[in-house]
């Protein structure tokens, strides 16, 4: 920061001399300049496969060729290593809540989402990262990290090539996943368990 004063003329209009033609009229102080840009969005090959699989009530993930981590949605790349990941994996439509948020303010353009609603990071069985989903079918205050959930699908006749086929995720009633192994801790817990197995010579129980 410097101490150089900003000239008064530039900052507040004092000193700007106007011609007679606009001297006595209400000055314009703001102007609407909307921007609109249109794109023809074509998803990648991996995303096309993922979306079409939804039409068959299947959820696909990508397996990393480096360490087997499974990402969902599949983007054709393992982002931790910057390598191509083209192996697709079918995932169960059941998992647990990795983290969640209760939203009380409505989103513009989403009148279909009555507030308050719960958005959550859904960690599917078999996947090593979560993806965004809506949790419903229970009281919002009952949602917790580790809560087991399953997909509630649209009726068969209403399925399209879209993740919107899953209306929301509802609790299954199964025992919770322990917090130490839930959400983003799951990968670390899995790696630690694998290391233990190796240390034990691979004869720990599954």
């Amino acid at each position: 920061m410097t101490d150089t004063p900003i000239p008064a003329e530039a900052s507040d209009g004092v000193g700007v001399v106007l011609p007679p033609s606009i001297r006595d009229v209400e000055p314009v102080r703001s102007v609407r300049t909307p921007i609109r840009l249109e794109y023809d969005f074509i998803p990648s090959a991996a995303a096309q496969q993922y979306l079409r699989a939804y039409g068959e009530k299947r959820i696909l993930g990508n397996r990393s060729p480096v360490d087997g981590a499974v990402f969902v949605p599949p983007r054709g790349v393992d982002p931790r290593h910057g390598v191509v990941a083209d192996e697709m994996v079918d995932l169960a439509d059941i998992g647990h809540v990795g983290s969640f948020c209760v939203t009380h303010l409505p989103i513009p353009g989403r009148r279909d989402l009555p507030v308050p609603y719960v958005s959550a990071w859904i960690h599917l069985d078999g996947a090593d990262i979560g993806f965004l989903g809506l949790v419903a079918g229970c009281a919002n205050e009952d949602v917790r990290i580790g809560m087991r959930v399953r997909a509630v699908w649209k009726p068969d006749g209403e399925l399209g090539d879209t993740a919107e086929n899953v209306l929301h995720w509802e609790p299954t009633g199964e025992p919770d996943v322990p917090i130490a192994e839930a959400g983003n801790r799951a990968w670390g817990a899995k790696q630690a368990a694998a290391a233990d197995d190796d240390a034990d010579g691979g004869d720990s129980g599954a």
Partner: protein, 360 residues
Amino acid sequence: MTTLTVVTAVREVAVVSSAVHQVEALTFTTDVQLMVPLINEARGAVGLTQADIGFTCSGSSDFLAGQGFSFVQTLDAVGAFPPISESHVEMDGAFALYEAWVKLQVGEVDTALVYSYGKSSPGSRRDVLAVQLDPYTVAPLWPDAHAVAALQTRLLLESGAVSSEGLAEIAVRSQHHAVGNPNALRASAEATVAGVMAEPVVADPLRPSDIAAEADGGCVVVLAAGDRARSLSDRPAWIRGIDHRIDAHALGVRDLTRAPSAALAAARAGAGDDRLDIVELHGPTTSQEHILASELGLDADTLMNPSGGALAADTLMAAGLVRIAEAARRISSGDADRALAHATSGPCLQQNLVCVMEGE
């Protein structure tokens, strides 16, 4: 006359490897998928992994992706784990390279990964570029990039600086040089001035061959400093000077037939200190390539745009970095000893970066 002093860089920095990929349109390939093989190729060519890279800097535009912070997702292609030191410019990758060069000057790191990409095919690039104009008095009229360049071209023609045939010669030279360049979209040994002059005017007075062939693609450049560069490359392309200057933004306040910022950047980068074997100019139209060549005062021995230049394939956000990569590659191969690469940004050559490189 003012004497311009060229400041010698504290650290020698060189381009040690590069990778380029440009096509007419990428449809089922995301920005990330495009960059994975390119980044791996450029790093791999000098035996580096991401863990060996001191600083990463990229250039791209969210307005091409139609998504805010799109460049963050593109870091998936880098393999940015463990977390990396990284920056981004919402500009051509040539300017990201400048930032990386500055970072190397500071002395904390010895290597840098620079990349840029542009997938403009899903949108209308000439209209997206209208948004860079004055938001109050110009952009609401949506003057597209071809129209704005056409206004500049007409001024140039009517000033007598060049004729339509002269511009067609530039288009033809680009198409001839581009033959054999796997990253060129418009290449033809059979192109003629008569053929170009017979094309219908599409943005009066510009013809299709006067306007760069739009490409989707990406470019990667690896920089290294001092002895690190010597250990990675038998013949690094040493950056002897690099500079970036900016002219006034408003179209009516400057002489559009000139690009003083290009001349000043070239002088500051020491372009005229010795002969130039090749220049790679980022001129998105023949008229702009002409203006740049005039401002740089190039002599007849200098080979102009051996790659075909931006006219042969123009990847928005990467065309400038591609010029640096193409020039550096020819130094490292021994085809050239001293080269100038140029990048532009803003309407009608408003901003210009010049990079002068030498083999040892």
